[in-house]
């Protein structure tokens, strides 16, 4: 039993991004087959591309209740076939973190959450996961047939050229205990900090909620690749939405580029962004702790630096 089951996320009839990354993670712990389970109410776009990124088979489970997120039905379906797999992999998104433990409980198997690396160790799956807000890394051996919830971005999607055959899976009878409505998109239709390639976060140094416009402009200069985040201090002050908060009690982000503007770099903030590939800090206090984790820092007044940076990014991207 070396095969892996990967449960993919569908929203509004489309696969969520990250399927290739999850399949790449699955490939790390098997030379056998990787099956991708897709639960939906109808046809889903993009399934034919899953073979190329590592799915040997795409298992589709159709049910009218799957038009919106249906944790009871998806967990029941995944658990009903899970016993023939070495492990079940789910992405550590809001949905995956909700779903993984449910599948594990139904399988009577352990669940390792928010895993950043995985390998086989004998019959166990050896995983590494950040704990204590990223201040430590825990290595666990998870007995076979567990659920591994893999942090997005842990492994880049690879090319495999697998057949990607499709098969239908029966949805077992289940009780729909929770009724979930369609996702209400956030007001601006803006990119989520957890998904953006570039995150620009503002803190109390902005001085006034209206000054977030400076960060919106810088984000816009990145042409749809950047999201605006915030420290807890400004979220609690009502300057930014909860969904924008980065840190221990907010979102964990791992973008390619994180720009902290007027943020001191409290340990709880660092917990949410220290694994960004490149960190830039703009702060007028040269002793601000954010400079300890920043790859590049500018000491100065953000009201002067940010507009200059916006202009420079626009110019650089125009070329």
């Amino acid at each position: 039993m070396t095969d892996i089951l990967v449960v993919l996320e569908v929203r509004d009839g489309a696969l969520r991004k990250g399927a290739g990354e999850l399949l790449a993670a699955a490939r790390r712990i098997t030379d056998g087959s990787v099956d991708a389970l897709v639960c939906s109410a109808g046809a889903v776009n993009g399934l034919d591309a899953l073979g190329a990124v590592g799915a040997d088979r795409v298992l589709t489970a159709l049910h009218p209740d799957f038009a919106t997120y249906c944790p009871d039905g998806i967990a029941a379906t995944a658990a009903s076939i899970a016993s023939s797999y070495r492990a079940v992999l789910v992405a550590a998104t809001a949905t995956g973190k909700d779903l993984g433990p449910r599948i594990a409980a139904r399988m009577n198997a352990p669940c390792a959450m928010d895993v950043t690396s995985l390998d086989m160790n004998g019959n166990a799956i050896r995983v590494v996961r950040p704990v204590y807000a990223g201040k430590a890394l825990q290595t666990l051996d998870v007995s076979s047939s567990g659920v591994i919830v893999v942090r997005p971005g842990a492994y880049p999607a690879g090319q495999h050229g697998r057949p990607g055959a499709t098969a239908a899976v029966n949805v077992p009878s289940f009780t729909r205990r929770l009724e979930v409505a369609a996702v209400r998109k956030s007001d601006k239709g803006a990119l989520d900090v957890a998904e953006a390639r570039v995150v620009i976060s503002g803190g109390r140094g902005l001085g006034d909620p209206k000054n977030f416009a400076l960060l919106d402009e810088l984000a816009a200069a990145f042409g749809g690749e950047a999201a605006v985040g915030a420290s807890r201090a400004v979220v609690d002050a009502g300057w930014a939405e909860h969904g924008a908060q980065v840190g221990q009690t907010g979102k964990t982000v791992a973008p390619e580029l994180y720009i902290a503007v007027g943020i001191s770099g409290a340990i709880q903030h660092l917990a949410g962004m220290r694994t960004a590939k490149v960190i830039v800090a703009i702060n007028r206090d040269k002793d601000a702790p954010i400079f300890k984790v920043a790859d590049y820092g500018i000491v100065g007044d953000l009201f002067e630096v940010v507009p200059a940076l916006t202009a420079a990014v626009k110019q650089a991207r125009a070329h």
Partner: protein, 249 residues
């Protein structure tokens, strides 16, 4: 309405982590322990619902060694009516712990079981959903809004790019996220009253489960960064670094 809240005792979030001898856990010397911040949202939600209803009973349940009684008293000081200490050593496997909690909560006649969305020590993020599955109850995790009326609950949770609303019949299990409410602080009167509130101790033995802790280690240090300059004049140097060295623009 009867409401149960599951509580965990965790190191304060400002704790500097030192790995203990043996390399599998933290060195607890000098560490200040507090109620898990997310569990405080659950406690507040329970108290607010009882306040609004004008009747009912709130119970806080914690699994752990005798020291968790200290944290249970904090919850009682906030206004929770009674506490249950499930006395035993938590397993490294979240399912084993969820099973112990579920076994205790089953048959307790609770309309609502609330947890934090995660504990800031092991970041397990599974207790609530697992308790719900074990008890075959409806569940939503990481909720930022909770309304209860006529035997049903409506909740909201944040997902990537938006908000998901959901509803279900009670009894139900929810795990609570920041944004749900602003937890109250224990009052002096509450602290005095907490000393006299009931705290029941029940010995439990979580099973070993299917997870073994191999190691706990500090993350690799980020390579020291550099200050590229001061003020707007430093922007060209920053752009140079981001485009040529780091190649992220």
């Amino acid at each position: 309405m009867k409401i149960a809240v599951c509580l965990r005792r965790v190191p304060d979030t400002t704790t500097k982590i030192v790995v203990a001898a043996g390399g599998k856990s933290i060195d607890e010397a000098g560490v200040k322990f507090v109620a898990n911040p997310y569990d405080e949202y659950a406690l507040e939600a329970a108290l607010a619902l009882k306040d609004a209803a004008g009747s009912g009973e709130t119970t806080v349940v914690a699994l752990g060694g005798d020291i968790v009684q200290e944290t249970l008293r904090t919850a009682l000081a906030m206004g929770i009516d009674r506490a249950v200490h499930l006395q035993g050593t938590p397993s490294a496997d979240g399912l084993a712990n969820a099973r112990v909690l579920a076994d205790h909560l089953r048959g307790g006649g609770y309309d609502l079981i609330l947890c934090g969305k995660l504990a800031v020590d092991d970041y397990g993020q599974q207790t609530g959903a697992m308790i719900a599955e074990l008890l075959e109850l409806p569940c939503a995790t990481a909720i930022t809004r909770l309304d209860v009326a006529y035997g049903r609950a409506s909740v909201e949770r944040e997902v990537e790019g938006g908000v998901e609303a959901a509803s279900c019949a009670l009894p139900a299990v929810f795990s609570c996220d920041k944004g749900l409410n602003n937890p109250r602080l224990p009052s002096l009167k509450g602290i005095m009253a907490a000393k006299k509130k009931p705290l029941e101790v029940i010995a439990v033995t979580p099973d070993a489960g299917g997870v073994t802790v191999v190691a706990l280690a500090l993350p690799p240090e980020r390579a020291p960064g550099k200050i590229v300059g001061e003020g707007a004049a430093a922007v060209p140097a920053l752009m140079q670094a981001l485009t040529s060295d780091a190649k992220v623009i």
